[in-house]
Amino acid sequence: MPLYLTEDQAMLRDTARAFMAEEGAIAKQLRKYRDMNCKDGFGHALWKQFGEMGFTGILADEADGGLGLGHVEAGIVLEEVGRNLTPSPFLITAIAAVEALKGSALRERWLPGILAGETVAALAVDEGAKHRPEAIAMRADRQGNGFTLSGAKQFVVQGASADVIFVAAQADEGLTLFAVEKDAKGLDVEGVRLADASIGARMTFDGVAVDADAVVGEIGGGEAVLGRVLGAARAGAASEMVGVASGAMERTVEYLRDRKQFGRAIGEFQALQHRAAHLYSELEIARAAAIKAQQLLDEGSAKADAMVSVAKAKAGWTARLAVQEGVQMHGGIGMTDEHDIGLYMKRERVLDELFGDANYHADRLARLNGY
């Protein structure tokens, strides 16, 4: 498959771009919910619109009422989400959770609400300040026909608004993924506002009882499921970061054309031109890496795993460069809350951290290559 968009994909991009620029715009979504101190950090009305547009069903099978598309298409929507800093449960719910539900009996319970843009899901993996899924300590102990979950999670994005939380825990059989309902007894959820105005959660599981039905995939088979889920989420986050970087760069290039100092547009200064051109180059490469990773995921290729880490790392570094150059080139105005460029810097930081930062993924790539 060629590494550019097919006609159908280009149409999806155009649709998503127009929709997100209009309905998902910074003033209409991010600033609105931030400034009202919204406890969810996103608008449910927009989430419903995601459902109406069909975005929520991109990864779901047609037989289940979805569009039966792939990760490339998810990435197309996520790039527009990123470009507009649109706060929404899309990445975790429509990508990570839908990937988790694939082939699971639980999809009857949760998929319809997700497709409708009504249900919100969360993914509880991290237990410390850094993403370390290879060192999950939370316990899942057998009790009767089910399990009791004990431990703590943090950085659970949208965890405070989620109807269902996918939780990774260690059973005797090994790592296992559970779908836990929000009102489960013994589950304490503390919503935490993050730098980008999104809401993460810290969760305490104090002997939370769940049925065996709540197991996603096999008992002890969590590594495989979580691998798929994280692969989808990381590739998606890479695309969202490519979008964040693109939005930051577009605003910055525009500013370079408009802002005058010393009697000329600052974009005429060669030092800034070269830095902007270098950023463009990095961004093109990061986008190619993200699409490649998604194609490999869609093909079910064994090479997908490594490429996802390449994409997440490259997108992280590139988006970091884009927001740093963006703020610096905007000068003083870039430091003000009134201007949007600073919001890109905040969002980039959260997305880079999510599901492993660039250093984590570069190290992971090294380990996958045996060094």
């Binding site: 991290d126 410390g128 300040a129 850094k130 993403h131 370390r132 943090q154 950085f155 935490v192 506002r193 993050l194 730098a195 980008d196 105005a197 993460g200 005058k260 100092q261 010393f262 009697g263 200064f269 030092a271 800034l272 740093q324 703020v327 610096q328 000068g331 003083g332 870039g334 430091m335 003000t336 809350d337 009134e338 600073g342 919001l343 810097m345 905040k346 930081r349 959260v350 951290e353 930062d357 250093n359 984590y360 570069a362 190290d363």
Partner: protein, 387 residues
């Protein structure tokens, strides 16, 4: 015992006796700084006690002459005082743009009357000053400023707007650049003017920053009348004063690049680095850069004192120091991970780490951008053509 040894012993004893215990604790944040002014805010009686004790000896400005409220100390004595204060962790008794910025300019360019009028109250922290340089259309291109200052015979009439005025909403007086000759080439028609922020026609509006703080204001001048004797230096030669002051500010900022005492960042982050080999590598590189820069800072200060520093060297220090400071904050964010993303929680002290991280982004913009500094180095040190 040499005179300096005697001075050291006496200073040590005086500090032991007069610096309150609370004033020897590290500051918890900008809120702990004492800024003085007409309506000074003291968070504790000890803050006032410490300021008064130091001001009485002229030691808020130890190296200024005694007749202007200073301590009249020699450079060697000043250094000893600072060392002895550092030894017991004594806080600076007074934070003041009057001391760090206006004072040196007045000492060099002010009339005798101006020195006697303004310097002692600066030294005692009685008047809080703010700086009015930048304007919305004049950022890096500072000299393109437009604030108009007309000669109305018995007074000046000021109209215009400033931006990035630090704490303008809390300041008593402003020192600022105004255009007194609109017909002259842009560097030639500027004067350096002082006036009371309580003058009719002055208004301020805080600017909300990405960190969520508002240390800066927009400041508006609408037919502000200013007495004729409040220009510093010659009329239309304010650019000389401004350049002198900017150089001084850069030296000050480049000193700040020393931040955190220059100890190993990796040693402080040890636990977070154990299973993050790439971050450890970044921190190790940073530590090399930071410790090398600490040597540079020491060298720069020594050369400055000896009059051996290149006049444009502060630009290099400002550039390198602020870029380093930003890099440090990036590493603290990376090591902090999800913890460092929390913006409001008590656990995170109201998001101190991420807010300080965002604050550092201004380091390479304020006081002349990194690009401006590189241009100065290219032109004045490397003598490249057309720079």
């Amino acid at each position: 015992m040499s005179d300096l040894d005697t001075f050291r012993a006496e200073t040590r004893a005086w500090l032991e006796a007069n610096c309150p215990a609370e004033m020897r604790l590290p500051m918890e944040g900008e809120g702990d700084a004492v800024w003085g002014g007409r309506n000074p805010e003291f968070k504790s009686p000890q803050q006032k006690q410490w300021l008064d004790a130091m001001a009485a000896r002229g030691w808020t400005v130890p190296d200024w002459p005694r007749e202007y409220g200073g301590g009249g100390l020699s450079p060697e004595e000043t250094k000893i005082l600072r060392q002895e204060m550092a030894r017991i962790g004594a806080r600076s008794p007074l934070y003041s743009f009057g001391i760090s910025m206006l004072g040196p300019a007045l000492l060099k360019y002010g009339s005798e009357e101006q020195k006697l009028r303004f310097l002692p109250e600066i030294a005692r922290g009685e008047i809080r000053w703010c700086q009015g340089y930048s304007e919305p259309g004049a950022g890096s291109d500072l000299a393109s400023l437009q604030t108009k200052c007309e000669d109305k015979g018995d007074h000046w009439l000021v109209n215009g707007q400033k931006v990035w005025t630090s704490y303008a909403d809390k300041a008593d007086w402003i020192f600022c650049l105004v255009r007194t000759d609109p017909a002259a080439p842009k560097h030639k028609g500027i004067s350096f003017l002082l006036f009371d922020m309580a003058s009719p026609g002055v208004s301020t509006k805080p600017i909300l920053l990405i960190s969520g703080y508002s240390p800066f204001c927009e400041t508006f001048f609408d037919d502000v009348k200013v007495p004729k004797d409040q220009i510093v230096g010659e009329l239309n030669k304010g650019w000389d004063v401004a350049k002198y002051l900017l150089g001084h500010e850069r030296e000050m900022i480049s000193g700040m690049g020393l931040g955190g005492g220059g100890e190993s960042l990796g040693a402080a982050l040890k636990k977070r680095l154990a299973d993050d080999p790439l971050l450890r590598a970044e921190v190790a590189r940073f530590d090399v850069d930071a410790l090398a820069f600490r040597a540079m800072s020491e060298k720069f200060i020594d050369e400055l004192k000896a009059g051996q520093a290149h006049p444009a060297q502060p630009s290099m220090m400002k550039y390198a120091g602020t870029e380093l400071n930003k890099a440090r904050s990036e590493l603290l964010m990376a090591a902090g991970g999800a913890d460092a993303l929390e913006w409001e929680s008590e656990r995170s002290k109201g998001g101190r780490t991420p807010r300080e991280w965002l604050r550092t982004k201004a380091n390479s913009i304020e006081g002349g951008t990194s690009e401006i500094q590189l241009g100065i180095i290219a032109k004045h040190i490397l003598q490249l053509p057309g720079a």
